[in-house]
């Protein structure tokens, strides 16, 4: 079975631009969570979606938004990019809404110049 997939693998943007990151969960998983991992730090929780509804939001500005589609895939959108948004963005999926078993994708490396 395929694991969690994310696209693109790498992305380079300039300040002020907008970016969309995509995530496909493991088949049958209904929950998708997004994390930001800045170099040298642990991942920080951004959003969780379960059954297409937002179930949790971390301490991130409104420039960050997400949504989940009927097939349970998800998009993370970031507007007005800042240099500090450069990070590895990780997507994780799970069967249910709790954190008991989350499976992480390989991530999207975003570089903002």
């Amino acid at each position: 079975d395929a694991g969690v997939t994310q696209s693109p693998t790498h992305l380079i943007k300039t300040r002020g631009q907008h970016v969309t990151l995509r995530c496909s969960p493991i088949s049958g998983h209904k929950s998708v969570s997004w994390y930001q991992q800045v170099l040298g730090q642990g991942p920080q929780f951004i959003f969780q979606y379960y059954e297409k509804e937002e179930r949790g939001r971390g301490n991130f500005p409104d420039r960050f938004s997400a949504r989940q589609f009927p097939n349970y895939s998800s998009e993370l959108n970031v507007n007005a990019l800042l240099l500090g948004d450069s990070a590895l963005y990780l997507c994780a999926s799970s069967l249910v809404g709790e954190a008991r078993e989350q499976f992480f994708g390989p991530g999207t490396r975003l570089t903002v110049l």
Partner: protein, 114 residues
């Protein structure tokens, strides 16, 4: 609010030696505890988890961890490390039933040498 402290940013160790990576957490409610491993340029892989029951948890690749509620600790151990264990290790905590939010520590770099 929860927090996780990983006391060592780097742990150098020789191959076949034992290792312990330390993790302490803070939470006002009952928690689930996790250890994840991250190899260079990859995502996170779950090593082991504590949900309830026995406080000694065994995971993949020969790792184990012990939940100590009184000391709010969840240290990771391996009796004999291999070169391939070189990676970044993250301890994480989640409240019971609080969606899927994981709070991670800052990570410990395990460097195994010959």
């Amino acid at each position: 609010a929860q927090s996780v402290t990983q006391l060592d940013s780097q742990v150098p160790v020789f191959e076949e030696a034992p290792v312990e990576l330390r993790c302490n957490y803070s939470s006002s409610v009952s928690v689930y505890l996790f250890w994840y491993v991250q190899y260079p340029n990859q995502g996170l892989q779950l090593l082991l988890k504590y949900l309830s029951g026995s406080t000694l948890v065994k995971g993949i690749n020969g790792f184990e961890a012990e939940f100590n509620k009184s000391q709010t600790s969840f240290h990771l151990r391996k009796p004999s490390v291999h070169i391939s264990d070189t990676a970044e290790y993250f301890c994480a905590v989640s409240d019971f039933g609080t969606a899927s939010k994981l709070t991670f520590g800052t990570g410990t770099r395990l460097q195994v040498t010959l």
